[in-house]
Structure formats: C-alpha cells, structure tokens
Assembly symmetry: C2
Homo-oligomer: 934 residues x 2
C-alpha cells in the first residue's frame, strides 16, 4: 500500500495554515522530496521546486493535501452528503492570491487587467486524468471583454470563455458534457463548418449566450459571474474528484492509500499568443539524440502551446530566439541551466513568453536515446553535478546493447511503414538490423555470400544442417519456432539479427518465394529485417553502424570499479570468445559443445555414431570427432588465455542431430506409393526406424544432459579427453588455461557423483600420460527444480553451480518455452478475456526474459543456501539468458552469486547492470528486487 503518515514535526511547522505560495511551500520542506510530495502532491512539489530554483514560473499557490483529507472527513461525517467549503480555507486562499495579483499587476475579476487562473489537482502519486482540472477561471461576461481588449484578440477571448463555461459547468455544476457539446455541434452544422477553429468571434459570442441559457435551464441558476464563487467551486470540485469512481478504481488497481487526498494548485495563466512579444516553445537542456551540451528545441511567436505540438505553423529552431528576443533567450539559457542543476539531469522544458516576459510552465526529465543517456550521465558527473554512482544509475542498462549493433533510424522505418513496405512482424529473436536478398536454400546462401552478396536466409525453421547458411547470411527469418528455436539461439550466439516464428509468412519452398497477405516476395528480392523489434520490410532501409563514444568506455570503466559480480560470456567459438573479451568478459560461463557437433563436416560422423548399435561402433565414430573437438577447445583456450572457461558437456537429445521424422515419413510414403523399392528406400526405412526409436513425447524432459553421458559414457569421455588434450597443448605454449567442466541437467546427487568419478578419471589419465597438471574444476548446471531442493548433497561433488535459468524456468512453471510463447504465453502477458469484457494479465513479465523472483528465484535462493551450507566457497553463477537481463542481474547480485554469463553483445549491459545492482544494494534498495523470502 503506497501510503503516508502525518509527521508531528512537519505538522508543527504547518500549524493551522493550509495554503502556501509556490515559493513558501518549498521552504517548508527544504529538500525532502518525498515529504514534500506528501503534503504538496507531485505537481505542487514540482512547481515549488521550480520556483525555488529561481526560474520564472507563473506564480500560484498550493492547498495542502491535508485540506482534502479534512474536507473528505467532514463530508463523510455529514448526513446530507454535502458540506460548505470551510470559510477559513477560502480566506487563506484569497489572502495568498492578493500576493500573486500584486506580483503580476493583474487582479481576479478586474475589468482592465483580469487575472486568469488554472485550478489543478495533484496527489502524491501521479493519477493521470483521474481527477479534474479547470482552466481560464476568472472569466465572466465582463472580464472576457477586458481579455479581448488586452490581447487584441476577441476570438481568443471568447473561445477561452466558452471553453471555461463548458469545463466549469461539467466539473463544478454537474452538467452532463453532452448538453453543451450538442449546442456546439448544432452551431457548426448550421454554419456548415467542420472544425472548432473555423468558428469566428461572433459565433463564439453567440455560443457563450446559448451555453449560459442552457446552464440556467439545467441548474436553475445563472452561470456564476462572481469570480470568487468560481474559485471556491473549482477548489471544492477538485476535492470531490479525489473520490470519484475512476479515481477510486485507479487507486485500488495501483494499491494507493485512499486516505492520501489531493493537493490543489491554483496558478496564474500566461498567454504566449498575447502579442508579437509573446511566444511559446519547448526545449531540451541538451541534445536528446547525442547528449551534446547545447540548448535544443523550437518555438513559435504569438502562439499557444498547442500550436507547437499541432504543427500548424512550422516552428523556429531555438537558436533563432537569440536573434528575435535576445534578452528572453539569455534568460531562458540561465533558467534552463538552473533547472538542470536543480534536478541534476537533462530537462525537457515548456516555456511561454508573455509580453516579453519569460515563464517556465513545466519541466521534466527528458527522454533520450541510449547514446545520449550515456553521454549525459558521464558529462553530468564530470561537470560535478552527479556522482559516479548516480551516473551509473542514469543509464538504462537494457538499452545499452543498442549501441553495439547496427540499427535502422526510427524515421526511416516510419517512412517505410507509411509507404506500405512493412511486411510482417515476428518474434524479435536476435537483435540488430540488416539488409539482403532473400534466399531459401542455405547452400545457395553460402555461394552468394562467397561472391560478396548480402543475403537473408528464409526458412520454415532451421536445423543443424543449415548452419553454413546462417553463418553466411546477414540475418535469418523463420516462420516457425520460438525464442529458443535453433535459428534464434544460433543467431543470438553470432550477434546476427533474426526474426523467428513469423507465422504470417507462408513460405512456398517449391517456388522459392513467400507470401504475406496479398504480397509475394521472391528469391533475390531485397528485404530489411530488424531483429530488435521483429519487423520485416520490403526493400532496403539504411543501417547505421554503432559508434562507441569515449563516454561509453568511461561509464563502463566506472561500472567495472563498482560492480561485485563478475561478467562472463556464453561463447562456443574462438571468434565469439574474442569478441566477448573485447566487450569486457572475464571468462566463459557457458561453452556449449553441441554446436560443435553440428557443423556440416562433423554431422555425418555424429549421425554414424548415433546410429551405431553398440559401444564399440560408437567409439570408432567418436575417435574421428576427438581431434576436431580438441581443435575447438584449443582455439577457445587461446582466446581466453588466463580466464576460466566453463565447458558444458553434450546436452541436447541425440535425435536433434538426425533428420526430421515427419519429412522422412512423407518421403517414404511417397516413394512407396510410386511403387519404388530398392536400396534407397531400405536405407530410408532403416533411418526411419532409428529416428522413430529415438522419438520422445517431451524431449525437453527426456534422454538428454547428464542422462546421455551416464548411458553412453563414451561420448562425454571423448569430450573430456579433448578438453584436457587441448588444455595440455596450449599450456605447453605458455597459455594459462582454467577449464571448468560442467555436467548438465543433474537432478540427483548420484548423477553428478557417478559422472564426475568417471570423467575425472579420464582427465587424470590424460594428464598423467602427458605429465602435465592442469588447474581444473568440475561442477554442474542447476536447472532442475530437484537440484535446487537437494543442493546440499549435490554440492558435495561440485566445485561450482551454474544456474541454467532457462530450463529451471521451464520446469518451475511447467512451460515448454517453444510451445508456450506461441500458444499461450503471449495471451498471459497481453491479458486473457473475461466475462465482463476486460482483459486481465496473468503474468506481468515474460519469465523467460525477466527472472521470476517469486518462484524460480525462491528455488535459486534455496540452492545457494543449501550449496553454501555444504561448501561455503562454492562458485556460483548464472548461464541462462537471464544472465544478460538487468533485473535478473540485480537479483543475482542480491543472492550473492559470483558471476553472470551472457552472450557477447550483452556483456556491456551486464557490466553496467551489475554495477547498478551494487549501487542500489549499498543504498539499501536491493530489497526491491529480492525474492519473497518467507
């Protein structure tokens, strides 16, 4: 429950006073931001702070949230359900108003220089649009004339008045919106015009009269001409709006305390359309694209705020203000600087100039690109405005890898969409952008790439046979498969864009084309794909290469100093390992060996091995693989000289290395129906039998991981032999090698115990033979719930635990990721339909993206505690995809893990996220992301 309490020391300062000018309000709370919001509400606090920072804010006053609470209390205590507004409060308001009138040389209800006011709600927690607002208060049949005269704009004056009547009648007098809206519509119809903007001053005058008549008919009294009565009514309406239905609903939804109450802000209105010395504009304190420290923005002379946004006239660049209104420009510069210093961050500011006088209406933290975020954070720190810790927190770690990949410009994509070139959107399986001609065959992709062509490989789904095509392509599109499909995993590993599972694409392999809706894209046609968003476009969109700024390196160096977690990488090849090391990886946390089995030259040998009926034949095939595996490890060890390399032994079910069952059945049936026979059919039938005998209902939970190695020890023995032979080889050349052998999918201590015993004896034999000692470790993936529950026993045989959070999430939730993402998880995240037509979200986050602290996290916490109870210095890490996701990294930090491991392109993200976790933990905010630990 977001709540608050009235503090006695503050209450002493306040006493019986309830109304404060923006300037006085700030003094009351000094710099306690949260306390200030308790009493002034969010908007009131902002206005107070802006005023205090010395910029020109249109003067105004704030009525404390206390008054709303007092009013609500007296209301609920009254039998009639209505009470009079407390006279004392309004007296205070009018007194304070006098100060404002003096300051502006305008008076509420004055017939020459009328003061107009806005009355706005503002609670502690933002409740956008839930409560009421009144603008242009102070207008009546007479002051409207004064406004017309002083602005020399009768139309503007009457338009403001008719708007005020509409707003006030609805909010304060309870007149249904439609009542006056119909009159307006009738008017336009009778005039044959479509837009409000086409109404002339005379039309608006007439409308005002009609509105006043209708209000009298409906309420029985005249529309209030007494401006004080107007103000009292407006304030009361805001108080009441705290308890309107939508506000109560909103608070229930967001668990906001119903007793907080809202503050009321009464502020003088200023007009940028007053004369030619008036203007309105928006500006950023720095360039929001690049972060460069220059004033950046645009403005319009003699215009209102809406005009800038609406784009009716083309606004000027802010530089022109220097020429047009040099004094105002100077003032703006200094105001803007003051605000940035006050808020200690780049600001996005709305300003109005009224008759040569500058007013700042609103300031907020400016939205920015990742590049800008990095530069601003580093610059602000170097300017002495924020600390290094704050700088680290200022950059959204998740955004960071935008800076490492080619990308499309948003405007280019928008243009492509507008011209109808957006083809489809699939899963954003691997980020980055690329262009190329469509190719359907992997071998053709390889050939074309060999000739220097850029190609995009399009497949229904990819399999190990296609790997040469993926290597050659700029990017991959599949029409089937999820975030963990073969294409997705391989592409992510290579840092290559991939759009997966794009079911809208109907691929027609026979004719080398695909259909999407009415369109047909043929082989050779150019497409552009954005793997960061999953979008596919016809034709070429220019890609932009990443530019690493000096600030980027600086920020990461600060992060490295600050973080506690080590960052490793998931890399299966020397190239990936090298890249990751350049990105700052401190070791390999997951080197998958199955991808090494999948390269085109090895797959036939692997298949022969699998189809062998006995151990002896398997060993013959494995002997052929041994030197290749050894070479793989040599390359990786060389790249990671001096850093630990965790190698996971073979994990996937063996049938993943064999052809697809359905295709085989189809082929055989076709051959038979054609009356074919002979050796070829026989061979296919034999193959079918192997594939069928290996078929599993739920391969994810079948014969894989350490189960494979326990049943066919010769496979993992070959792998360990290759690892140690490679280690000995590179060690002999002065390279420091630290292999960590990881046994996957352990659920029972005996699995690890037996597997380790066997494999360690192989390692010993290899080392003894060479007479070389290698510094190695044995450990296990923790990816089965049972492993967490019995981690105390498992730790007896492991020097390290590496959480395989992908599989752990699958089994903890009972979600097969491949099925869930396409079949129901998107509905869980978007919301399922309910009887009353509302959509209700089942899950707030995709647990495969952000670690589920509550469930999976609880298991991990148990595993850490149990593991450490047996082996206090056991090494702990994450090697699932969560290892590159900031919230999950923060959770890993809170668990006290030693490292996280992620794909090379996520390494900088992880470095920053780990530092942020340390900063937050030190400031006592880590609890926010800790799992429920009961």
């Amino acid at each position: 429950m977001l709540s608050t309490t009235e503090k006695s020391d503050v209450m002493e300062k306040i006493g019986s006073r309830r109304v404060f000018s923006f300037a006085d309000a700030f003094k009351l709370f000094e710099d306690d931001d949260s306390e200030m919001k308790d009493y002034l509400g969010g908007k009131g606090a902002g206005l107070a702070q802006m005023t205090a920072s010395g910029v020109n804010v249109p003067p105004g006053l704030t009525i404390l949230t206390l008054s709303c609470r007092e009013y609500s209390k007296s209301l609920s205590g009254s039998s009639s359900g209505s009470v009079k507004m407390p006279e004392k409060l309004m007296q205070e308001v009018f007194e304070e108003l006098t100060q404002i009138e003096k300051q502006l040389d305008r008076r509420l209800g004055d017939l020459e220089k009328p003061l107009l006011l806005s009355v706005r709600s503002g609670a502690k927690f933002s409740m956008p649009g839930m409560m009421d607002t009144i603008l242009n208060l102070g207008l009546n049949d007479k002051t409207v004339e004064a406004l017309a005269r002083s602005t020399e704009n009768e139309r503007f004056a009457y338009d403001s008045y008719r708007r005020f009547i509409q707003m006030y009648s609805n909010v304060v007098l309870g007149v249904a919106k439609d009542e006056l809206e119909y009159i307006l519509e009738d008017k336009k119809e009778s005039l044959g015009i479509k837009y409000d903007a086409d109404l002339k001053a005379a039309d608006l005058k007439d409308l005002v009269k009609k509105f006043e008549t209708r209000v009298k008919e409906l309420t029985g009294t005249n529309f209030p001409q007494d401006v004080k009565e107007q103000l009292t009514g407006a304030i009361e309406a805001v108080f009441k709006s705290w308890n309107n239905n939508r506000a109560v609903y909103y608070r229930n939804l967001h668990k906001i305390d119903h007793n907080l109450g809202t503050a009321v802000n009464v502020q003088s209105m200023v007009f940028g359309n007053f004369d030619n010395d008036s203007a309105t504009g928006v500006c950023f304190t720095r360039n929001p694209s690049t972060g460069e420290k220059v004033l950046y923005g645009e403005y319009l002379v003699k215009a209102q705020g809406e005009d800038v946004v609406a784009g009716v006239r083309t606004p000027h660049k802010i530089d022109k203000l220097k020429e047009e209104m040099p004094q105002v420009y100077e003032e703006l510069l200094s105001n803007v600087e003051r605000l940035e210093k006050h808020y200690r961050d780049m600001q996005d500011i709305e300003f109005t100039v009224e008759r040569g006088k500058l007013y700042l209406l609103q300031t907020r933290t400016g939205k920015r690109t990742a590049a800008c975020a990095v530069k601003v954070a580093v610059d602000l720190c170097q300017e002495g405005i924020i600390s290094e810790d704050e700088a680290l927190l200022r950059v959204d770690a998740g955004q960071l890898n935008q800076l490492l990949l080619p990308s499309f410009r948003e405007e280019d994509k928008r243009a492509a969409k507008e011209s109808g070139r957006h083809l489809a959107t699939g899963l954003n399986a691997s980020p980055g952008a690329s262009i190329g001609q469509v190719v359907f065959d992997p071998t053709e992709a390889e050939q074309l790439a060999g000739k220097g062509e850029k190609v995009i490989l399009v497949r229904v789904e990819t399999c190990p046979d296609d790997i040469h095509g993926i290597v050659a392509a700029q990017g991959v599109i599949t029409s089937r498969g999820g975030m963990t499909s073969h294409a997705a995993v391989v592409a992510r590993g290579m840092g290559k864009p991939c759009v997966a599972g794009c079911e809208q694409l109907k691929i027609d392999m026979a004719n080398q084309q695909f259909h999407v809706g009415a369109k047909c894209v043929k082989k050779g046609d150019t497409v552009s794909i954005d793997g960061t968003t999953g979008e596919i476009f016809e034709g070429a969109i220019e890609t932009h290469d990443p530019a690493f700024s000096g600030e980027f390196s600086t920020l990461l160096s600060w992060a490295d100093r600050r973080r506690r977690l080590l960052i490793r990488t998931n890399a299966d090849t020397p190239a990936d390992a090298k890249l990751a090391r350049e990105f700052g990886a401190q070791g390999i946390g997951l080197c998958r060996t199955e991808h090494m089995f999948m390269s085109q030259d090895r797959l036939p040998v692997v298949q022969t091995m699998i189809m062998s009926g006995n151990r002896q034949d398997r060993i013959v095939a494995l002997d052929k693989l041994l030197p290749m595996q050894k070479q793989d490890f040599i390359g990786i060890f060389e790249a990671m000289d001096g850093l630990p390399v965790t190698i996971r032994l073979l994990d996937p079910p063996l049938h993943e290395f064999l052809p697809d069952l359905e295709g085989l059945i189809e082929e055989i049936a076709t051959s038979k129906a054609r009356g074919e026979s002979g050796a070829d059919l026989k061979r296919k039938e034999a193959l079918l039998q192997t594939v069928e005998s290996m078929q599993e209902s739920n391969p994810m939970m079948g014969l894989r991981g350490c189960r494979l190695g326990l049943l066919y020890p010769e496979i993992t023995e070959m792998q360990v032999e290759a690892i140690f032979e490679a280690a000995i080889d590179v060690a002999g050349r002065g390279i420091k090698v630290l292999p960590e052998i990881m046994i996957p999918l352990v659920g029972h201590v005996n699995e690890l115990k037996v597997a380790r015993q066997e494999l360690e004896s192989v390692a010993m034999t290899v080392m003894k033979k060479a007479g070389v000692e290698i510094d190695y470790k044995f450990g296990t993936m923790i990816e089965i719930p049972r492993a967490c529950l019995t981690a105390n026993k498992i730790a007896e045989h492991a020097e390290f635990f590496s959480f395989g959070t992908n599989d752990l999430t699958q089994m903890t939730f009972g979600y097969s990721r491949d099925d869930a993402e396409g079949k129901f998880l998107h509905r869980y995240l978007d919301g399922v339909d309910t009887e009353d037509g509302e959509k209700v979200k089942i899950l707030q986050e995709n647990p495969f993206e952000v670690l589920d602290f509550e469930g999976v996290g609880k298991l991990m916490k148990m595993a850490v505690e149990y593991g450490q109870s047996t082996k206090p210095d056991i090494k702990l890490g994450i090697c699932g995809e969560h290892g590159g996701e900031p919230q999950s990294i923060a959770f890993a930090d809170s668990l006290g893990l030693n490292y996280v491991s992620c794909s090379p392109y996520r390494v900088p993200v992880a470095r920053l996220a780990a530092a942020q976790a340390s900063v937050l933990a030190d400031s006592g905010n880590a609890g926010l992301i800790k799992a429920d630990s009961r």
Copy 2:
C-alpha cells in the same frame, strides 16, 4: 551411520567377562533387543532368545563383540600387524565349553564321543556372507574315526573331515581355496565321476591324506590335530574377518560403523543323519498359504538339512512325524508354540532330531501370502498375542490388492514357463490376470465380447478411439507406451489387467498377428496375461477369483478406526465410483472429465469443437456436449450420495482428441503420389493443418490444464454448468451432493484467481436460475513446482489443494514419464555401467511409484506450510498415483494431509497403509519416512 556406544550400566554388569552361554547371554540383556544385538550380534541374540524361550537349541556360547573390538585395537596397535589371541579370553571359552560338554555328554577331541563345533561370526547388522564360518571343528585324524563309529557312517565322517580341512585351511591357515579344490577335482576326474556325492568313503579318506600333505607343503606345518588350537585359530579368524576387504566394502556401502566388531558364536553340532532315530526338517507354525493354525512342514529321517532342500528324497509331511516319532512330535509342537509366542509371529523353523532328541537350529519369521498375512495378523491379535496396532503393521499393505483381483497360481505359471509357453514380459501397467483370444481391432473386440467371447485386445498403442474395445476386452496388451500411456491409465481405472510397452511383440496389423521371437500368435489364439507382473503366456492359465475372508474385513475395520487420513478414490464413471465406495472410499478425490470426452459418440462433437475457428462455433458444439456431461455427473453424484466429489476440469492438450499427425502425413503423401486429388484430399489437408498448428514440442508443458480454460473459457464454463445442473438435479431428489471443482495445472495465483472468478459466476447463475443452493468448493491441483513455491498466494483463492504428484514428480525431476521409463529410468534403477565394470544405481526407487520425499516431498512440505499460513483450515490431499502407495501414504500422513485418493482397487491398500502410518507416527517412527526438512 549405523553405530552403537558402550553403555556404562551394561558394562558394569558385564565386567571383565567376555564369554556367555546362550542362556546366560539372554539374562544379561533381558528384553532389550537392540542392546542385546549390540553385544551379542544378531545371530547370538537369536540363539540366546531361542534358548531362553525354553526350546532345545544345540548348546553353545557367544563371545561378545567387545572382544572383537579389543582384538582389532590391539592389532592396530601392534607394529608387526599380528598379536597373540588373549589367553584370558580362550580360558573363558574353554571353561564355558566344559558346561556344554557336560550337558551333551560329549567332549571336544574325545575319542569316543567327540564334540563337534561350529564357529560363526555375527555382527549387530546382518552382513550376509561377508565374514567367515567354520563347521565340524573338533575333527582330527582320530576323532573322525570316533565319528564314523558313532554314526555308523564312515563316508559321512570323512566327508565332514575333508570339508573341515578345506574350510579351516582356507579361512584360518590362509591356503588359497584352489589349492585343495584342484586336488578334489583331480580325484574325481581320475575316478571318472562328476559329483562330490559319488565319492566313496575310501576316496574321501585318501583325499584327507592328500589335503594334509598339501597343507604341510604350503604352510610348513602339519594340519592342526590339537582341537583347542583349532578352536583358538577359528575364533581369531572370525575376529580378523571383520576387517577383510569385502566386509569393509559392505559396511561402507551400507554406512555401518567400522568400530562395531563382530561377536563369535561357538555351537555344538548335531546330526540328523546319525541313525534311524535321527531326522531333520523344516516347519511353519501356521499354514503359510492360508494362515490356518496348523503345524505345516516336512522332514526326512536319517538325513541332513541339505537333503530336505535338495529334494534328493521325497520328504514326509510333518503329520507323519506324529506316527514315526510321537514324542518328538509332541516336543516339536510345544517348542514351536513357545517360539511363536516368544517371537509373536508365525515362525519358519529348522529342526534336527539326533538320536531321538529334538534340537531347533534356527527360527525366523515365516514368509507368507497376502491372504495368510491377513489371517495370521488377525488371529494373533484375537489370540491375545499381539495388539491391534501390531496386527495392522504385520500386513504388507502393498500386497493387499492381490486379494481383490483375479490371479494365476504361481505353480501354474511355473508350469507354463517350463513348457515354454511364456511369450514375453512387458510393463505391469495394470494388475490382475485374465485369459482371452487375441483381437487386434477394438470394434471386433466389442462384437466378440457381445457374443460372450473373452478377448484380449492387442494394439501397438491405444487411443481414445479404442475405448469401446478396451471396455469389451478382458485385458489389454500394447507394444508401445509406458505406465501412463492411454491403455495403462484406462485399464487401471477399470481394474482390468494391462501389459503395456511390450516391445518384444512385433505386431503385424495387416496380417492380424504378432511375432515374438520365433513364435507367431494369430487372431483368435488364446493368451493369458498377468498385469501384476507384466507376463504374457500362450494358451490358457486358470485364473482364481479373490476370496474376501472375514479376517480381511476385520483388519480393515481396525484400520479404519486407527487411521487419521481419509481415503478417497480416483473415479471417472458411476461404476467405478460405486466399486470404490464398496471398497471403503470416502469420496472422490479425482474425477477426470477428459475421459468423458473420449467416448465414441462424443469424440466427433469434441473434434468439431476443437476445429472451430471461433468462440461462437465452439459454443455450438459445446452445447451438444453439455447434456451428456450433465448425465455423467448425475450418475457419479448418485453413486457418491453424501460424500464429496472432486471434479477436475479439462486437463489434456486438445490435440489428444485429434488424429495422429504422422498417420495423416503418410496418408496425404500416399494420396498425392498416386495422383489423387479432390474433396477427400482437401479435407485431409485441412485436418492436417489443424493438427499441425496444435502440434507441440513438449505437450506435457504446453497448452493444457487451466491454460486451456483461460484461453477458451467456454469449455470449462460448459463443464461447470453441467456440474451444477447435475448437482441441482440430484439434490432435488434428496441426494446429498458435495461438488469440489478442481482447476488443474495452476502455477501462478492469477491463473486460479481469474479462472475461479469466471467459473464461480457461472455456478452462481445456474444456482440462481434454479433457486437452489449447492454446497460447493473451488480448489486447485498442486502439480507445478511454482505452485508449491507460491502456495501462500494460491491459497487465497483455493479451499483445497490436491497434490498431483505425477506431474509434480515429472517437473521436479525434469523427467517426462512416458520417455523416461523406456529411455533411461530403468537404467537408473538397475544401475549404469562404470569404468570398473560395476553397475551403480542412480536411483533407489522409481519416483513415479514411490514418492521422492527428498525432492518432491520438500516442495510438498513447503506447499502445505505456505498454504496453511494463508488458510489454516485448507483441505489437503493427494490425487496422483502415489495416493495408493504405502510409503507415499505414510509421507502424506506425516505432512498432515486430510486425504489420499487412489484407484478403486487400491482403496483397501490405502486404508491399511494410512492406519500403519498412524501407528508408526504414534510410536515415534514416522521420522523414518519424513522428508529431509533442513
């Protein structure tokens, strides 16, 4: 670590004494069985107890385990690794021996009446075969002649002597076994004989000489003729054998303390082959088949123990002893009665009569059939020998359902095997025995059964389409699929025998026959199947119907009084519900609604529903199903009048109701290759598209359970409507109905919250419309690890939790049961091969049979504690198959669950097991089966 400590009070009694006669030994420890074993070892304690109970045991003495410890200590303290046997100990032994000699009127080494001794080890915990034994000690070149004379059997005497020399030489003198064995073999070869038994007295005499010569050659000294030296050497050898390699290995394996030491038992030998007044035999105190209270057994005059077992001569029934040796018979009767009273259970006794004197050599608890176990337990209680609690513990609950199903007699199966009629053994998927003619087509099975024929349905695997055939058949055989395959589940539900996944059977559907090895079984051939063991036989084996004894009912009535857990049943049909109620079920714990969707008349409607592209079309189909579902529930509610019925909403993935993908692909490919086209092919292709779009990689973790109901609420809404309409219908007829709606596969609280909200509103509407209030509950299966981890939240929306331990086990272990059992689990249970050629078990128990307390149990414990923390009175049960397994039931009791639910035929098992759990818990032994709770 199984260990012990020397207690000071006992040590005081013992003082410096280390040797006790069997009679004295008993007095030392009174009736503290465990303490007695600490000092006397298991065998010594047994001999002491038998002696104390007043039966004639060949007299003897026991050397305390303390001596072994003392000897080992002095040995480890000696630098030479050898010590002399303590003189004081041997002095004590010889003193005690004098008493025995007096008692038997025989003396060790006497040349007329030589006393022969056995020297045996006996530790606290049985270590079968690990340590050494010496028989016939006391024979030498002279006493052997005395033995020959007194037994009038020279051959026997020399055979005993040569055996003694072989044993002693090996065990005490360290002569390799082969050394003397080769001489024996040579002898036989030279004589042209094959068996030891064909050696004549003269041959044996010669052998003895040859042995003695060889021993002298090897050891340098004569074979000891001094009988005291023989005894000293034998005792020392037993002490030493405590630390031989195999004993140390065994203790490591079984975690037995190496410091315990072994006792040594020195006992006089008796000879049943002495003369015609001698005999040997075995007997049970009651009939081990039926439990009837009559002496039961057989004996042979002038014979040794081995002769009875070896079946060389046909033994007499024990009754004949009454005629042949009336006095001995009377003595045996009274001895046997005394032993049964002492041990308070049916005994299996070995006895020997030597020259008219009865000796009891061994007594142990007799093995028995389930029927016998029940009768004996009840009888012993009614005879006042044991309490009701003890009676309850005396019957193996797991054996109990043998009594409820038809079965084959073991001897009939043995005979069938001997005559080569055993065809194959598959998985024992559903217990019971039946006979019938083989049929391959379900519809044909139905037709034949309609004509009164008994059929056994044989299929590769069954599917919902086959259900009418399963109903009609006596039993089912499949060549594919595991314990949870369709056939297995359906058959178990019907209490019908099923042998599943029998891969040896090569089914040839085209020719309506199957091959197994060289044999071929054709349609119409008779087979017999034993679902309890998984065996399949050619031809008919007579089945025997269960006979419920009065004792059976009595025992269960005691169990009902004693147990804390309620027993419910898993039943999907009124017939099953009725049956289970007759077996004592107190409600339905799991009524699966999917089987209702699978009957032949409904499947087409279900398929239409699934293939509908939109909600509206689905509703049309569902409207047709509604009245049928309602009728199902009416029948079940009627059967369970007054008892709660837990109904699980639709759980399996929808594609289970559609045809098989592979078959469709084959059909389409065949049609196409034949150049067919037209409507039929189009329809098939459309169907293929639906089936393909529903295909999942891991359906177990895909779109099923509550996920279905959240995406297609109309399905579960129809079910709830049917449930409440049915409830209202039967309530109107005075039947008490207590529906409990169970939402399956919940992993996140929001799933339950939203589903319940929607469904409860349907229930309200139905009740409101009828103006009837039904007493209902909503709850959930707890079968996803995450549900356990967040049970505190889930409990907010559930009135009950029912543990779905099948799925929970699958996900906690990461085992897909269908895949695991065939692919690797059997290897985990049998043992995987290791480098050194040994097999090592990874798992001790199949976690799908016996609940895994350590892992799955820990999750359940969390769920119980979390659930109760939110809702202290939440109802808790198990509805997985573990609900019928005794160890798992005991665990459920220890968790404090309210009930377990199991298939009808397991209900009596569960009643007894639950009572046993209560008894054990009250006696403080429940800890044995509690999960590790750290």
